[in-house]
């Protein structure tokens, strides 16, 4: 109706309007700040300036608190280089078996993992060639036939149990000196940093030049001995537990710190492998290896991490990490603790960067924080006696000085590692209630790796017994054949161990051969303590090469 009315010419409209009753209705605009729908709230829509302030007020962003923001921190950190190493589990008498660590560029992993090995034939041949090169370079090439003849590789025939090594031996025999023999011959004449103290008996230099030859041989001997990292005294490897154990000591200004790594298996050392212990001493610190104190004034920065919740309403969060999406079962306590801490307690943490020398033990002596009002707050270690703790080298019940220790282990991030020379896999057989040790790779006579499966004598599917007629229609097999290189281990109570502790004892196994014979290899019984956790485990050894700033070693 009104539309028709408004279309009339104004003169007629007025006439029409006066005929109508005049009723004023009122409309009211009712802005709705609340809604049962959660979506607009989650979208955190923007609005007018008052709305922005209101939302900030709702989220406590405008609340004044009685405190200041930390703007400065004075930190005192005492640190000391690792000065003593004890290979193997450290006990009360460890001070006598520990060795000094005096090299500035120590690397812990090679020291701990190095084995005293009989050098492989190829390594001895390559070193023997180096001796020939040095002699040639010194103008003593005429000595070559005598050197080769004196320290020659013994001739070998083709050996299918060591195909690569025996093939190489054919080439080396009579052409290359064996560095192992050379070293054994020269060792009594070792002249330290100078030439040999004399020529080996029976080796003369035609045409003179014995002094020069002694210098060359002495230089070669030093070179040969530094080619590989030698284990410090004794080995850290504990064959009974299939893991490394060692301890290190550092002389901090506030006293000695001894850290033990008793169950190191991963091949990559980190701080978590160490435990700070009391009651073990590794002996006097060598000169020049005592520590110092770093005192620094630093600016604390708020700790930020990926996926961290923003601490205000209108801020973009990192979308790459979504901690809310972490799924955890009822027993995933660590995971739940991580998520809970990150989402709820991640704020109000501050970080100070502290540069620490690699290979040192560190203890934070004191930390004083100053806020914007100049107030000083002394921050102590986060610790709850009897509760639980993280990132510590001691049990949570420990509140002594040791609880504040930290280690920056001298390790390298990248290691060149060759193919394994030896490899044994240990795994559980739940059905047979056994542990099998499977020798996969062993070293041949020349030191070259050989696939153990190739060396195994074939076993027979038929298990013939004495008085066996051999004409049975149905054969009952007592057991499936087990290859030679599968070695059974049986769990037995550990002698002198705590109740329930077991160790694995090596047992012989009856093998049936194709020709009807059997053999029961009786070998020395070896044992290793069982760790209940891993169901599969691989132990391997091989060559490694690591580099460090000043020196490079293999």
């Amino acid at each position: 109706m009104p539309d028709r009315l408004w279309n009339l010419p104004p003169a007629e409209l007025d006439l029409e309007l006066v005929k109508l009753p005049s009723v004023v209705t009122w409309s009211r605009l009712e802005p709705l700040a609340l809604s049962p729908d959660l979506t607009p709230g989650l979208q955190t829509l923007l609005g007018d300036p008052l709305w922005l302030l209101a939302r900030q007020w709702q989220f406590d962003e405008l609340r004044g608190e009685d405190g200041g923001t930390p703007v400065s921190a004075v930190v005192e950190v005492e640190h000391a280089p690792l000065s003593r190493l004890h290979p193997g589990a450290a006990g009360p008498g460890a001070a006598t078996t520990a060795v000094d660590l005096v090299d500035e560029d120590i690397l812990l992993e090679p020291l701990v993992e190095a084995e005293a090995v009989a050098r492989a034939a190829r390594v001895r041949a390559e070193a023997g060639l180096q001796l020939l090169r040095l002699l040639d370079a010194a103008g003593l090439g005429r000595l070559r036939p005598r050197v080769v003849e004196r320290w020659k590789f013994p001739p070998r025939h083709h050996d299918e149990r060591d195909p690569q090594g025996s093939a190489r031996a054919v080439v080396l025999a009579g052409r290359v000196p064996d560095a192992g023999l050379v070293e054994a011959d020269l060792a009594p004449l070792d002249g330290g940093d100078g030439p040999l103290t004399g020529m080996p008996a029976g080796l003369t230099v035609p045409g003179g030049g014995a002094a020069k030859a002694r210098a060359v041989l002495g230089a070669w001997l030093r070179w040969y001995r530094t080619q590989l990292v030698a284990p410090p005294g004794r080995a850290s490897w504990n064959p009974h537990r299939q893991e490394y154990a060692f301890a290190v000591q550092a002389e901090l200004p506030s006293g000695r710190a001894v850290l033990r790594a008793d169950e190191y298996t991963t091949g990559r050392l980190d701080w978590a492998d160490f435990d700070a212990v009391d009651g073990v001493e590794l002996g006097a610190t060598p000169a020049g290896r005592t520590g110092g104190t770093i005192r620094k004034v630093l600016v604390p920065m708020p700790a930020r991490f990926p996926g961290m919740p923003a601490d205000r309403l209108w801020a973009f969060e990192d979308g790459n990490v979504y901690l809310g999406g972490v799924e955890a079962g009822p027993t995933d306590l660590t995971r739940m603790a991580l998520v809970e801490f990150s989402l709820t307690f991640g704020v109000d943490w501050f970080v100070l960067p502290v540069d620490l020398p690699a290979g040192s033990v560190v203890r934070v002596g004191s930390l004083a924080v100053y806020d914007t009002f100049g107030e000083k707050v002394d921050v102590g270690p986060t610790r709850q006696p009897g509760g639980w703790s993280m990132f510590g080298l001691t049990p949570s019940t420990d509140v002594s000085r040791r609880a504040d220790l930290f280690i920056v282990p001298p390790v390298v991030p990248h290691v060149l590692e060759g193919d394994p020379l030896e490899e044994v896999a240990l795994f559980r057989d739940e059905m047979a209630n056994l542990v099998w040790g499977v020798e996969r790779i062993v070293q041949g006579a020349s030191g070259e790796p050989v696939n153990r499966g190739r060396l195994a004598t074939p076993v027979s599917l038929r298990q013939r017994l004495p008085d066996d007629l051999g004409d049975a229609a149905i054969v009952y097999r007592l057991m499936t054949p087990v290859p030679d290189h599968w070695i059974p281990f049986v769990a037995v109570p550990m002698a002198g161990g705590r109740p329930g502790a077991i160790e694995l004892e090596r047992r012989p196994l009856l093998h049936f051969r194709d020709d009807g014979t059997t053999d029961l290899p009786i070998r020395a019984v070896s044992s290793c303590a069982a760790r209940p956790r891993p169901t599969w485990r691989r132990t391997a050894s091989g060559w490694q090469r690591r580099r460090f700033p000043v020196t490079a070693r293999s």
């Binding site: 302030l53 609340r63 190489r168 700033p549």
Partner: protein, 278 residues
């Protein structure tokens, strides 16, 4: 002999075969070579370095690269072969050659890019000069007939790897918990206007009152009708008259909504928010 003759015939056939005009002439040569020497015969392209000057300088600097120890390159190669299976066959080959009396020391050329005169080869112990700068590339070339980077070269790449030299110092983080104030700057700027038309100057009381009022209004902004029960009949006092006889100025919301919808200004989400009587 019959096999050889057949091969020769096939080579002749290949040579005589007409090729399409756009064929690469190298392809036919490769085919002939592989007919004669076997299908797996590698054929290397010869290339010339675009800017050989730095490599030439580095190769010429052999003595300082090797620290005056010409055997350093071959001993390094043997040791590296222990951990690099790709390098192992080459190392074995050189061992065999040397056992047979061939002097391989001179056949190994070392180079380093970028070239720094007098610097040690990066694969050898660094010495007092310290580690080389990041990005340094060390090269070892086995060339029995000598290696001239300025001329045309062809060769096989045996192995390559990257080495990481760790820093002597590590930056650790010391974290501490501190209950810092959580107050954040407001998301709005108040542009205050003095209530009097011609004020002489602002005074603190007026300013505070303005700020307080703004804060009050901000809190009121979040209220809805439920919270102001009792006043909800009056507030908010956004009353707009509507009289189709135009006795009073009129606002027709229905007309506004229809107009907005017709012009596409009213999105579905916004339309859902407009409730009430027409």
């Amino acid at each position: 002999m019959a096999g050889l003759a057949a091969t020769l015939v096939r080579i002749e056939e290949t040579r005589a075969r007409p090729e399409p005009a756009d064929a690469d002439p190298v392809d036919r040569q490769l085919e002939i070579i592989r007919l004669a020497l076997g299908a797996h015969q590698p054929v290397l392209p010869v290339s010339t370095l675009a800017e050989p000057a730095e490599l030439v300088a580095s190769v010429a600097d052999r003595n300082s690269l090797l620290g005056d120890d010409p055997t350093a390159a071959i001993t390094w190669l043997h040791r590296a072969a222990l951990v690099r299976p790709e390098l192992d066959p080459l190392s074995g080959l050189l061992t065999h050659a040397e056992a047979a009396g061939v002097g391989v020391t001179g056949q190994l050329t070392v180079a380093q890019l970028p070239h720094r005169p007098g610097a040690r080869w990066c694969e050898l112990p660094f010495g007092t000069a310290g580690p080389p700068p990041a990005g340094t590339v060390g090269l070892l070339v086995v060339a029995p007939d000598g290696f001239d980077p300025a001329g045309p070269v062809a060769g096989l790449a045996v192995d390559a790897w990257a080495e990481t030299i760790p820093a002597r110092e590590h930056t650790a983080g010391l974290a501490f918990h501190y209950d810092a104030p959580a107050a954040r700057p407001p998301q709005a700027v108040v542009l205050a206007v003095h209530p009097r038309p011609n004020p002489e100057r602002w005074d603190l009381d007026t300013l505070l009152a303005t700020v307080h009022e703004t804060a009050e209004l901000a809190r009121l902004r979040a209220l809805s009708l439920k919270e102001i029960e009792g006043f909800s009949g009056l507030l908010p006092a956004l009353y707009l008259p509507n009289n189709y006889t135009r006795d009073v100025p009129s606002v027709s919301f229905k007309g506004l909504v229809e107009l907005a919808r017709a012009r596409g200004l009213l999105t579905a989400a916004a339309a859902a928010g407009v409730v009430g009587k027409d």
